[in-house]
Symmetry: C2
Subunit: 235 residues, 2 copies
DNA sequence: GCATAATTGATAACAAGTTTGCATTCTCGC
DNA sequence: GCGAGAATGCAAACTTGTTATCAATTATGC
């Protein structure tokens, strides 16, 4: 499973033309991390771009009270570290390996050189950044306006968007605690929300697993409850 | 007053070298809008970059129930419309003029031409996008973890960051209803939160105006309550 | 000055989420 | 099979925010 919670944002590598991609990867140093290893820590100053080659990483931050907020879970082809390059910021999040992971690390000077040599890289990074920004703005808006069950349904649907065919049941391996840390609410609330969706037959609750038996119906159910007209990419 | 709620993000124009800035502005068509005019509407398809020349605009969206969420209020030098250029999205927000406004409108083809001709433009846009992304991620995190009075205090402080000297009292012209729409909460809650801050002497509540009598003390107060270590640019 | 509109304050009934503690159910390894 | 650990279900007391309504205060135009 690749992108559990990527807010439906594309990965970097597929956005790059072959030549640009090759140049980027040839400038990279692959680094192996065991399960649970800290790839970067919030506050680190060393700038650079990182691309997931294999495995998944969790992007998030521990709170002062011991709670943990997961911002994103990234799979192969996804990148992180742009903040350190363009916003002149230290690492803003902890990055932790989930299982065995290989990360292509590209130092800041090499990224800069590539940026100057090939405008396609900057273009792809801009596409990525704007799409993430958009996804995040919508997420933040949802966070403020939608009741939890609706938010939850929306994201479960987004998580399974690439599961084909679209009309078939889809299931995700997820533990309620993880959902809680993603939405910043307690497990109790997640449980309640899930059971409400389950009561309507929109999800089936399993042990460490959720199933969406009828995604088209879920989509309809969501459309009735959206506060905003949906806006999607493409014409 | 320029940027009421810009999450402390820099404007585009100051990020551009003089030559790039001149090229961009010479490709622009200045358009005048009266108070309350709709500059763009959510869902519009016409892509292009817009730069505020004078006045302020409110970026936000009406909800299905008639409520309104303000995402941002932008002053001179700030830009919007990147989503339509790089993310292949229609307008994601309504943009409404606050008072008389002049906007420099730059069509998509002209922006593309400039992007190819001058890497500095892409660089500046990347800086902007990543900083906004960062600000928004932190905002979303605050939204989930901080109690309202703390959020409020944090943003009041951010709003007055450019008021010099830093140790002097600062005041912002703001109506409680506006704050409510920014935070996506009711006016009642904003009132309560403000009165709580006022009880500690951290803010003074006026009519259509809030004053921070002792910003250093407010900063200390905030530091005690932050869930995350602060991360700032530079350094 | 004074009426009017805008803004803020206050209250009550209600909804949603939190924390805490414990019971129950499921899975996996042996 | 069965036990241990993981994951989920449930309940009670509490906190925070919401809606709705009305009162009090402050600017502003004439």
């Amino acid at each position: 499973m690749t992108d559990i919670f990527d807010l439906d944002t594309p990965a970097l590598l597929p956005l790059l033309p072959p030549a640009t991609k090759a140049a980027l990867l040839s400038a990279a140093v692959p680094v192996h991390y065991p399960d649970g290893a800290l790839v970067h820590a919030r506050g680190d100053r060393k700038p650079g771009l990182s691309v997931v080659r294999s495995g998944t990483v969790r992007i998030g931050n521990p709170g002062a009270d011991g709670s943990y907020t997961t911002t994103s879970i990234l799979g192969p082809g996804h990148c992180f570290g742009e903040f350190t390059l363009f916003a002149d910021l230290p690492r803003t999040h902890d990055v932790v390996a989930i299982g065995e992971v290989v990360i292509d690390q590209i130092s800041a000077p090499r990224v800069m050189a590539l940026y100057d040599a090939d405008p396609k890289l900057g273009w792809a990074l801009l596409c990525l950044a704007t799409r993430r920004l958009h996804a995040l703005i919508e997420f933040a808006e949802d966070l403020r306006r939608l009741p939890l069950p609706v938010q939850l349904a929306k994201h479960l649907l987004a998580m399974t968007r690439q599961h084909a065919p679209a009309s078939a049941p889809a299931s995700v391996a997820l533990v309620q605690d993880d959902l809680a840390s993603m939405f910043g609410v307690s497990r109790v609330s997640i449980g309640k929300a899930l059971r409400r969706l389950a009561a309507e037959g929109l999800v089936e609750i399993g042990y460490g697993r959720l199933t969406l038996p009828d995604r088209p119906r879920l989509a309809d159910w969501l459309a009735e409850r959206a506060v905003l007209m949906p806006v999607t990419a493409g014409g």
